[in-house]
Amino acid sequence: MSILEINHIEKSFGQAHILRDISFEMEQGQTVAIIGSSGSGKTTLLRCINFLETPDSGTIRVNGDVILDAAVDKNLTDKEKRDRRLHFGMVFQSFNLFPQYTALENVTLARKLMAREREDYKANKKAINQEIDAIGEELLRQIGLYERKDYYPHQLSGGQQQRVAIARALALEPDILCFDEPTSALDPELTGEVLKVIRSLADKNMTMIIVTHEMAFARDVADKVIFMDEGVIVEMGDSNEVINNPKQERTKQFLSRYTNEGM
């Protein structure tokens, strides 16, 4: 059974038809890279999957359960959206760390707030928060930033901030982690450290969807590549196949721009 199944997603903003009949599926532990030029709809697709946008039609299934059916779910309550959203973690292009919290607080904030809804929270407040701190510290250790846990975001480099953002998304143990151009806002010399973290997650079989412009990275790390153009999936398949031997004319055109860059 596929962990994620997207069926016939459509999305328009006013006159602009951004997503047209998008369908794909992925298996547990797979990494899918979505590539394409700006405005091709890849970010909107990711935002639909994350409930940051509501598709006009289509369905999304996670582990076989329908978590979004645009035909019936137009008016989901906030609480329902929140619960369903937790299947996904999101890493943004511009990190979006919370500037008033330290690296560790960024990672633990959501869990700590959620723990307050537990019935035994009042009785075990201290133990619960300590436990969450320990989880947060472990995550920071994994991304190699444990010694920076008390730093504020502005005291960290862009690459470090993005790594903390990844830890923050992982803290909620999502089924699928989504990345929206995670290295596009970084200086070239800082992209490496972020890609390394993502690669290590792939090695641990984390299920991931990555919107990216890093073709070499997509080819090496992703199991499957989806090439989008003008709101449709033009080509999709094994990452080596799509990037090294694209079948569609449009895909070849797009990738030719990258071949000269030492890919």
Binding site: R82, F98, L113, H154, A169
Partner: protein, 224 residues
């Protein structure tokens, strides 16, 4: 000057106290009104947005002196004479507080709206993607950032409101301007009395803005 100071100083100090009392009461309720209407302006709900916009437009479009007369004389007249219910009296302090709270509240709503909108949209999205509800995301993530940018404007509004209490002398509240008028009426020493009144405002307002600067620096300490 000495004669005014000795003879009427305590009376004017007491009036200054009344001015501060009125300003504090007005500001307290203005903060509540401002927060309510400011938030109503940013939530994704057309009805809330419209109500908040109308409130701000109406209050900002009416001079405070008209608002003061309207509340102090107009509302009881409507209640007692036109509706014939009767029995309503507003003290100058109550009417003055309402007037200040509404007036300052409208400006505060605008400051709070602008402050919230100045926070990057990605902050709300990141908070929501972590499963926080709109209210919690607003309280824990967006508002703390908005408040830092709002502080200078809020302090400025506090100072304006403190000075605006002088307008409420028209409804007979015994604040500093009203009392100074009485002092002049008794002594005919316009220059000395008004100079003293001005000095009193000046001292309080300079102290307040110094305090504001300190607070601002403190809030920004350690952050960019």
């Amino acid at each position: 000057m000495i004669q005014i100071l000795v003879g009427f100083g305590p009376m004017m100090l007491k009036a200054l106290g009344q001015t501060l009392l009125l300003a504090l009461l007005g500001l307290f309720f203005a903060c509540i009104i401002g927060l309510i209407f400011g938030l109503m302006n940013v939530v994704k709900n057309k009805a809330c947005n419209i109500i908040a916009t109308i409130f701000v437009d109406v209050i900002r479009g009416v001079p405070m002196i008209v608002l003061a007369y309207f509340i102090f004389f107009g509302i009881p007249y409507l209640w007692n004479n036109m509706l014939g219910i009767g029995g309503m009296t507003l003290t100058a302090l109550t009417a003055g507080t309402i007037c200040l709270a509404l007036n300052c509240g409208a400006y505060m709503a605008e400051i709070i709206r602008a402050g919230i909108q100045s926070v990057d949209k990605g902050q709300m999205e990141a908070a929501r993607s972590l499963g926080l509800s709109y209210g919690v995301a607003m309280r824990k993530v967006v508002l703390p950032q908005a408040i830092r940018t709002m502080i200078p404007s809020i302090i400025n509004q506090f100072i304006i409101t403190l000075k605006d209490t002088s307008i409420l002398s028209v409804i007979g509240f015994p604040e500093l301007v009203n009392t100074t008028k009485n002092v002049v009426g008794i002594t005919f020493k316009s220059f000395q009395a008004w100079a003293l009144a001005g000095l009193m405002y000046l001292v309080v307002i300079i102290a307040l803005s110094r305090l504001a600067k300190m607070l601002e620096r403190r809030l920004n300490r350690g952050r960019e």
